[in-house]
């Protein structure tokens, strides 16, 4: 018998005859649901993620590329990497960014690893949405926006549609039925990387981005 079979046999021999009833998380969340406007939800998200040291800028669908360019200039970003094949990526035009080198992700990570680690100052990604309760961004990695784009460069710019802020993580994964198909990597991000491993003193910029900057669009109006 293999280790697998031995382990499973031991567990089978000992498990309860009947499994316990399935616990449904829905009531816990339903009884605490808030009847909140889009603005209130955004405000909660913002309070949360700002508490984790992220910067949040509310802008518009029309203006965000220019704001991104301005923020890159303010942060003295030399090279900004992004996914060129996304709707947002296609909005980034070299003339808006002036001296800043706009570098679309190209090839496999192995092809660009050294640059990614040493020469790219910032990464830009879209987001799938966010979570108001905790101030978290939701990112699903893809061929267009690989995992390391939001991880390796010291600054991460993230574009968020305010209409896609969910009240809780539970609401997000249930309402969008994540269980039906997850990408190879799904991610919640709540602020720049940090650690309190030395004497419980909080320090930002541990191994991932040192800064997280969120550009929020579509904040006007109410949730559909």
């Amino acid at each position: 018998m293999s280790a697998r079979d031995r382990i499973l046999a031991k567990l089978r021999g000992a498990r309860p005859a009947e499994p316990l009833p399935h616990p449904d998380p829905a009531p816990h969340y339903a009884t605490r649901a808030r009847n909140e406007s889009k603005a209130e939800r955004l405000a909660r998200f913002r309070t949360g993620i700002e508490g984790f040291h992220a910067d949040v800028h509310v802008t518009t669908e029309a203006d965000w590329p220019a704001l991104l360019a301005k923020l890159c200039r303010d942060k003295q970003v030399g090279t900004l990497m992004f996914g060129a094949n996304t709707p947002a990526g296609q909005r980034l035009q070299a003339d808006t960014f002036g001296d800043i080198s706009l570098r679309p992700w190209a090839g496999q990570v192995e092809d660009i690893k050294a640059d990614l680690f040493h020469r790219v100052d910032a990464g830009f990604t879209q987001t799938r949405g966010a979570i108001a309760e905790t101030g978290s961004l939701i990112l699903w990695s893809s061929a267009d926006e690989p995992r390391t784009l939001s991880l390796v460069p010291p600054i991460h710019f993230a574009l968020l549609d305010a209409a896609r802020i969910h009240p809780t993580f539970y609401d997000a994964l249930v309402s969008e039925n994540w269980a039906a198909g997850l990408p190879t990597n799904a991610l919640l991000i709540s602020g720049p990387s940090k650690t309190a491993d030395i004497q419980q003193t909080l320090a930002y910029g541990a191994h991932g981005p040192k800064e997280l900057i969120v550009l929020v669009i579509n904040a006007e109006g109410d949730v559909q």
């Binding site: 990570v109 690989p146 269980a179 709540s190 990387s193």
Partner: protein, 488 residues
Amino acid sequence: MSAHQQTSTGGKDAGKPIAFVSAQALRERMHDAVNDPHLRQSFRGAMDFLMAKRAAQFPDTDELDSLRSLSEAIRQYSLSKLPDLLEQLEANLTHNGVQVHWAETPDEANAIMLGIAQRHAAKLIVKGKSMVSEEIEFNHAMEAAGVGALESDMGEYIVQLAGEKPSHIIMPAIHQTKQQIAKLFAEHIPGVSYTDNVDALIQIGRRVLREKFEIADIGLSGVNFAVAETGTLCLVENEGNGRMCTTVPKVHIAITGIEKVVEKLEHVAPLFSILTRSATGQAVSTYFNMISGPRRGEDKDGPEEVHLVLLDNGRSQAYADEQLRKTLQCIRCGACMNHCPVYTRIGGHAYGTTYPGPIGKIVSPHMMGLEQTHLLPTASSLCGACGEVCPVKIPIPELLIRLRGEANSEPHANPAMVGQGAGHNALTSFVWRMWARVHARPGSYRAFSWLATRFRAFTPKRQGGWTAARTPLQPAPRRLRDMVKDRR
């Protein structure tokens, strides 16, 4: 890499593989720890900080009660279907392209991972935080085979540099001061001069470890929750090193205990919430990473191979007993140690086990056998603080009592645990039998208590541990029952 060195706080066994740490010396280690004022002060400060942070996360006690009940129910439900869920997990992970391995013992787990490393001719493995890898002494096993294993969680990195072990499951270097770390970095990292500025120290660690992420052959991680229905491995972390380890190297190996599986993705949301809030008092961790397979299709990054090693190491023994099974509900938040008055006074190293504190006392006996661990369950005043804060309501005091019984009882056939009876002592058992005789017979008790009070002058003045720090106890001149009688 890890030159063994003693530190005042680490204790002499701090860096040794658990197998070489003497269990019998528990009292000695506790004695040393409790008499180290520096250690006492740093743990008290750290635990006060963590307790306050946790409390601030649960202002609404109804919400806390509801979330605890839900989390307990999810963990108990998952365990009630454990073998089925493990098979479902394996099938879905395999479908997602993840290779699943099973190990009954630490040696088997290490052999599996060494095999993977050798197949890739790996020279360097970078590690995200994994207590299971500590449990199996992974670093020692790899180093013995000539494969480098480098911790990348800042706390774990510090502990590894110091040649120690984690003293807390969430905050591994909690016993070290920034001055000690500054000294450590200056001594061990080329080109680094002494600074005790925490930001500067973290940036030094970042620089050193980033170089390693870039060149490492394999990344190793633990798993916080494994989701059966989707074949997903979930990882909770703040630093980004977990993402680095699971994303940048060509091979990712995850290792976890067999108990960590849940059935549905929706079960993860409440557990994740109560985990970070209970552990470090954070509403959420910086990253919550859900990995459902290696790089595939059009993906441009991510590991080309992902492996999951499922480790038993005594867990199936705990599973076999309905009461002991509750041990496996644990989600490794560390709240029990943060609130433990014993842990607060002796720190994590004194226990001599991978998992310190209350959870360590109830889980280690299954991993290591009672022979080596039977004293651990006695090192508790049963105050109940651990059970009170446990996010999945493990009745830790009740389990400690059970383990005391397993250790005390005379060795018998078909024991529930390896090492049952290891703490059996004929004299102690005799004393308790006599005690029961006296107290189970009211007449005997009356006689005994009459003698004890009338001859109170003969009460010994030295009363073992009690009089080590207290004035002796002496029965009253007259019993309550005498006073009651007199009055009537």
